[in-house]
């Protein structure tokens, strides 16, 4: 059983406090962006964009550039390319995503294999390395978070309308196509923010799981976002402590905590009615 000491002891380590702040902030940004993402049916897109950031990370390492820059460029470029290929209409969206993200990830593995000596750092980007986060990383992360959250704060109505009813929104004069591209770019930036916390492989869980859990128990959009934020901020804190006590991998522990809460919500919410809502109503 964790006692008060078990909770307070790790706070003596600056790296642990930094990790707490960083992962809670990442959880907040992921929950907000993820709420729109699950309603837009873009969960797979989140997985694709995180993998496509990999070549950017490796290239940044090779060029001794900041990894945030490399990851952001690669992810945003892939997001826009997927949007463009899909909009041309020759291929389904999931097909375009499958081709482009596998290609980008292969490019990352290819570049990685060219590095002469074993480089442990890069494994951190695959599986996360939140305990190694520095003050500079924390500042970069905060700046990017403010950019993403600020954009959503300004355009929440526009994103909501174009997510719910793109046709009605476009007829009312909202720039639906530009909003779509902008949202893809926001997903890409959110992934960059999250890479150091949970790594490329597990980012999609940070994005999708809190929002998916909230969707199980929400009747309104405001409630969905609020619950997603609560889950998104609390789970990394629980996960960090759990990984400290258990000496387990932090990123994976955080994701497991989120998944456990999702499973509980799935069992407890005895309301399949929303899933059935698209069937014709009874009279």
């Amino acid at each position: 059983m964790p006692t008060l000491d078990a909770i307070l002891d790790p706070l003596a380590f600056p790296f642990f406090v930094r990790a707490l702040a960083a992962s809670a902030l990442v959880g907040l940004v992921c929950a907000v962006v993820g709420s729109y993402m699950v309603l837009r049916g873009l969960a797979f897109m989140g997985d694709a964009l995180s993998h496509s950031a990999f070549p950017g990370v490796v290239a940044a390492y090779l060029l001794k550039a900041p990894f945030y820059l490399g990851a952001a460029l690669a992810a945003v470029a892939t997001a826009l390319a997927i949007g463009w290929v899909t909009r041309r209409g020759q291929l389904r969206g999931d097909t375009a995503i499958g081709v482009l993200f596998a290609g980008m990830f292969a490019a990352g593995v290819f570049l990685f294999s060219l590095i002469p000596n074993y480089v442990g750092d890069l494994f951190g980007f695959l599986f996360g390395e939140i305990l190694g986060i520095g003050v500079g990383d924390l500042i970069a992360l905060t700046v990017l978070s403010v950019v993403v959250l600020g954009t959503v704060a300004v355009l929440w109505k526009e994103f909501l309308y174009s997510t719910f009813d793109p046709l009605g929104a476009e007829a009312a004069g909202l720039p639906v196509v530009r909003l779509d591209y902008l949202f893809l770019a926001l997903i890409a930036l959110t992934i960059v923010i999250s890479l150091q916390a949970v790594g490329i492989i597990l980012v999609v869980a940070m994005l999708v799981t809190p929002a998916a859990t909230a969707q199980l128990v929400s009747q309104s959009f405001g409630r969905l976002v609020s619950i997603a934020i609560a889950i998104g901020v609390i789970c990394p804190v629980i996960g960090l402590y759990a990984s400290y006590w258990l000496n387990s991998a932090t990123g994976a522990t955080i994701v497991l905590v989120e998944t456990a809460i999702f499973v509980v919500a799935l069992v407890v919410s005895r309301r399949p009615s929303l899933a059935r809502a698209n069937q014709p109503p009874a009279a």
Partner: protein, 292 residues
């Protein structure tokens, strides 16, 4: 040369003002419009004028181009050839003065959103980014929900509504937008009779107030009860004019290409040389696509 005066001529027509300073001229004007999707034309050579304050129904078979016509007027679909003018400007430029209600099947009813917030979306476009809904917007939403009889369901998630209530909620969104032009895709399809009567009474009031109401419909009986003007569409404009057109068997035959139709109390068997199977015949009318 000759091109320039002609262009000035057209814009003169668009900007004539009446005594009250309002733009006169038709609400909608399509000239020689052909449009479609993925290289396939859904409407061809359409020319049409719709007067302001009209209460007009667009009818015709599935795949006949009804929704395409609405999208062209809304400016969300660009014509391949020809021009579309809406409320005196190029289609799409008057978007803030338009309310568009999509078909019920296109809506994700499992979306976690309440009736109140659906109606509030009618205010979003005019608010623009940065500005949050104010007292004025909340008052407009309240008034709209009261007019459609949905104020008691404000906090209900839309998937829990009946079919009639769902249409009422979306009409509330349109009313809250305070538009000059309503574009409604199948607004009374599959709703109960009281809802149909209520919604059509509301739309009639809007038209009498000088706003233009254009609705697509499948239901010829409902159409002949509620609308003054109709446009029959089957890839082309088959006919347009007074609602009595619906009683002309020849026009119906050309619109639907020959099917059993129930009109008012009468069943009218039109000459059907094509012999569709009865299950799909009432829903699908694609046999005109191969003809010229």
């Amino acid at each position: 040369m000759t091109g320039l005066p002609a262009a000035l001529d057209a814009s003169d027509q668009l900007h004539q003002l009446d005594a009250g300073g309002h733009v006169r001229g038709p609400a909608i004007r399509l000239r020689d419009v052909t449009a479609g999707y993925d290289g396939r034309a859904a409407l061809e050579d359409v020319s049409l004028e719709i007067a302001r304050g009209s209460l007009l129904a667009v009818f015709g078979p599935n795949g006949g181009g009804k929704t395409t016509l609405l999208k062209l007027i809304a400016g969300v679909l660009r014509p391949w050839t020809g021009t579309v003018e809406t409320l005196g400007v190029r289609a799409g430029e008057a978007a803030r003065r338009i309310a568009y209600v999509p078909q019920a099947e296109l809506v994700d009813w499992s979306f976690p959103i309440t009736v109140w917030n659906v109606a509030m979306m009618g205010r979003f476009a005019r608010l623009g980014p940065f500005r949050q809904p104010s007292r004025t917007d909340r008052d407009a939403v309240t008034a709209a929900l009261e007019r459609v009889g949905m104020i008691d369901e404000s906090r209900t998630q839309i998937g829990r509504l009946s079919g009639g209530q769902r249409r009422r909620a979306f009409l509330a969104r349109a009313i809250a937008a305070e538009p000059e032009l309503y574009l409604l895709d199948e607004p009374v399809t599959g709703v109960d009779v009281p809802t149909e009567e209520d919604l059509m009474a509301l739309l009639t009031i809007e038209a009498e107030a000088g706003r233009t109401v254009i609705a697509t419909t499948h239901d010829l009986a409902a159409m002949s009860r509620h609308f003054e003007q109709v446009v029959a569409v089957n890839r082309r404009i088959v006919a347009s004019g007074h609602v009595d057109l619906v009683r002309d068997p020849d026009i119906l035959a050309r619109t639907y290409g020959g099917h059993l139709l129930v009109l008012g109390e009468r069943a009218v068997l039109l000459d059907d040389a094509h012999h569709h199977d009865s299950a799909s015949g009432s829903e699908r009318h694609f046999h005109d696509q191969g003809k010229t």
